[in-house]
């Protein structure tokens, strides 16, 4: 038995402890984060799975908890991600400006996340939401960009405040902050407004189009471990809100008879599709591997939105499964890139190459992660995408379906690039000496994650079973699953069979590769090009700019959202400058003029 309250308080206290330990010894402080987050994960997962979590509160004021399958699902996933990523902390903590603070904020944001998933009170939900924003906010600037933090703040606050607005509207309708009863009490226009506001919150947290600007900036520029946490963990807060907004609240607007879908569902699905396409196209362009993965995260957020808004049993379970699959895959990928960056100090594809020679395990982890992201069997990403495709086609959303397929192919295109650029190709001279495999404790989480990715792809039924509980809870028909089969609307999937076929295929290919090996390794200098001898060890591989012609097609449109917000910001700045210039002079005349005008307005009625 374990009390949620105690777990949260424990996490927060461990955070404070890690701060003081970190003041004494930086690395020791971050070791505390590992121990604490592992402990939290284990206790949440174990007691949660066995329904032994106690939700009563004794210490915390105003906060009440409840255990729902939805919350538990997300909590286990996100605590797992936090626990895995925490293994990286000791290796990176040296580089941060405030290492002790880093450890503390890391654990505090974990505490906040737990609070979000377990509270049954909207006010506490908002409180924890803000708490997570603020604790994670100060983690971001320890990385490369200071601006990323303010744009993260801006968008997530827009989300939080939309949430708050919705909360207050629901409170007016129901007189309570309780999540279940206040959501049940809204109807009609109010429900539509609430649902739209919650959707805004979900969009902001997920970084979906058009609230997407912060996500690539934050993921691309945070410290490496934090990028992983954001992509795998914190971004999923958005998915949590999306479930509340899109699944638990009824859709609104004009209902199309043929498909039974409402206008709001079309709009959100369209935005989700745009997110997918936009994220994919942007990811294809990136040079920085972390940025690339950032855009990939964004496009995967689009999948989750599309899936959740359709709200059929296949789509919701597909969406939730995608949450798991993407969390695992992108965390693994970010960790792999982080490992590379720890060894070489860069994540730019143009500055890297041939890391496979020194970091084979990292390479393998990354490979597995991107296979899952691209939705290729036998990884977890395949299962979720299979379910989502079915739901989309079933509902006749042709354009969305096109986007979804495009995203899938596109993701294969882009995730392959870092693979080729970072790991394959020629080894670069500047990294040749320093490169070695990542330390053991960094490999541990990566390997665990890869194992899970394969497991989710081969035997999805364990997770789908849990997701079915969630589905029942939020009022969607559960998915039909056998012991080794998944039944969709258009057919039955046998992941284990597919996996074994794939396994055999890969095995054969591997044997052929080993037995019939024709290639020979030569040094960089040991070659010539077009009759010229090479005198310097320069890079000769062509894994950059694979898709230059494609990029040229949409080059002009890549910055629409960024430009929009830039322009919005400039408008605010202009307004401010204008006001300053206009009102704040050293002459009394403006003030007097306005006094006269205001008096005139008030008196006008009397004259007439």
């Amino acid at each position: 038995m374990a009390s949620i309250e105690l777990i949260i308080v424990f996490t927060a206290l461990a955070g404070v402890l890690s701060y003081f330990v970190g003041r004494l010894n930086k690395v020791a402080g971050s070791v505390v984060t590992i121990l604490a987050s592992m402990f939290v994960f284990v206790s949440v997962a174990y007691f949660g799975y066995n329904n032994e979590l106690i939700h009563s509160t004794e210490f915390l004021p105003y906060v009440t908890f409840s255990v729902t399958y939805l919350g538990l699902f997300f909590a286990i996933l996100v605590t797992f991600i936090f626990a895995m990523v925490s293994f990286f902390n000791p290796f990176f903590v040296e580089k941060y400006k405030y290492p002790a603070l880093y450890s503390m904020l890391y654990l505090l944001s974990l505490a906040g996340v737990l609070g979000v998933f377990f509270t049954n009170n909207f006010m506490s939900l908002f409180f924890f939401f803000e708490f997570v924003v603020w604790t994670s906010l100060f983690l971001i600037p320890m990385g490369r960009s200071k601006r990323a933090a303010s744009s993260y703040y801006a968008f997530s606050t827009v989300g939080s405040f939309a949430l708050l607005f919705a909360i207050f509207i629901m409170r007016e309708a129901s007189g309570t902050f309780n999540i279940v009863s206040s959501m049940a009490s809204v109807n009609g226009t109010e429900a539509a407004i609430v649902s739209a506001l919650l959707a805004v919150a979900a969009f902001a947290k997920l970084g979906a189009f058009p609230l997407n600007v912060w996500l690539p900036r934050v993921l691309g520029n945070s410290p490496d471990a934090i990028s992983a946490v954001f992509s795998g963990g914190l971004e999923k807060l958005g998915a949590f809100v999306a479930v509340l907004a899109l699944v638990k609240l009824a859709p609104f607007g004009y209902v199309v008879d043929a498909t039974g879908l409402a206008a709001s569902q079309y709009v959100i699905a369209a935005l989700g599709a745009l997110t997918i396409v936009f994220g994919t196209l942007m990811a294809i362009r990136q040079d920085d591997a972390k940025k690339l993965l950032a855009y990939s995260s964004m496009s995967n957020g689009g999948y989750i939105l599309v899936a959740l808004t359709i709200a059929s049993s296949a789509s919701v379970s597909g969406g939730l499964y995608h949450v798991v699959a993407h969390a695992l895959a992108s965390t693994a990928a970010f960790l792999a890139i982080g490992a590379v960056s720890r060894i070489t100090g860069t994540t730019k594809m143009s500055e890297l190459g041939g890391m496979i020679h020194k970091m084979p395990v990292t390479y393998l982890v990354y490979l597995i992660a991107i296979i899952s992201m691209a939705g290729i069997p036998p990884m977890g990403g395949f299962i979720s995408k299979w379910l989502i495709f079915q739901a989309v086609i079933d509902k006749g959303m042709i354009l969305v379906a096109v986007a979804v397929f495009f995203g899938s192919i596109g993701s294969f295109l882009y995730v392959f690039r870092p693979l080729a650029a970072l790991f394959l190709g020629q080894e670069l001279p500047q990294h040749r000496e320093v490169s070695k495999e990542a330390p053991f404790f960094m490999l541990v989480p990566m390997v665990i994650l890869s194992g899970l990715i394969i497991y989710t792809g081969v035997l999805p039924n364990f997770f789908l079973g849990f997701i079915n509980n969630v589905l029942t809870e939020v009022g969607v028909t559960p998915l039909v699953i056998g012991s080794y089969t998944v039944t969709g609307t258009n057919g039955v999937l046998q992941p284990a069979l597919i996996a074994s076929v794939f396994g055999v295929g890969v095995l054969i290919a591997f044997i052929i590769f080993i037995v019939l090996k024709k290639s020979r390794k030569v040094g960089l200098m040991d070659t010539y090009t077009a009759g010229n001898f090479i005198y310097t060890e320069e890079l000769m591989h062509y894994s950059l700019d694979f898709y230059a012609p494609l990029e040229r097609l949409y080059e002009k449109y890549i910055n629409i959202t960024k430009d929009f917000y830039k322009r919005l910001e400039n408008k605010v700045v202009d307004l401010g400058r204008l006001m300053k210039y206009y009102f704040f002079t050293n002459k009394p005349e403006i003030m007097v003029l306005w006094i006269i005008i205001i008096m005139g307005i008030i008196l006008w009625g009397d004259i007439l």
């Binding site: 002079t585 050293n586 002459k587 009394p588 005349e589 007097v592 003029l593 006094i595 006269i596």
Partner: protein, 112 residues
């Protein structure tokens, strides 16, 4: 009549503040505004044919007379003294400004 004139004076004071960019002129405008306000205050307490609110021996013999309202007059006394305080301070500041910028014209001082 004087009440209207008081309002016109207040407005002229505002007009001065609206158009003048000379420190001294601004203080002059403020003074006009204040005089207008003072006249207005007194006018509010004025009673046609009323007596100044001071008991004298004449008052005893002619009880029919009424006094004008003494309270606004007392307030005006306060307002006048406060006005002179403000004006003195404004002029001292004007002197300081002149020492700093060498002019009374706000337009010639440049933006800070």
């Amino acid at each position: 009549m004087l009440q209207y004139v008081a309002i016109v004076l207040i407005m002229l004071g505002l007009y001065g503040l609206l158009t003048q960019r000379n420190i001294i002129k601004i203080i002059v405008s403020l003074n006009i505004l204040e005089i207008g306000v003072n006249l207005f205050i007194v006018s509010v307490g004025f009673v046609d044919g009323g007596l100044a609110p001071i008991f004298t021996s004449t008052y005893n013999s002619s009880v029919d007379f009424s006094f004008v309202d003494p309270l606004p007059q007392a307030l005006v006394l306060t307002a006048i003294v406060i006005g002179v305080g403000t004006t003195a301070l404004g002029l001292a500041l004007a002197k300081n400004i002149y020492q700093k910028y060498g002019t009374f014209e706000i337009d010639e001082m440049g933006e800070e």
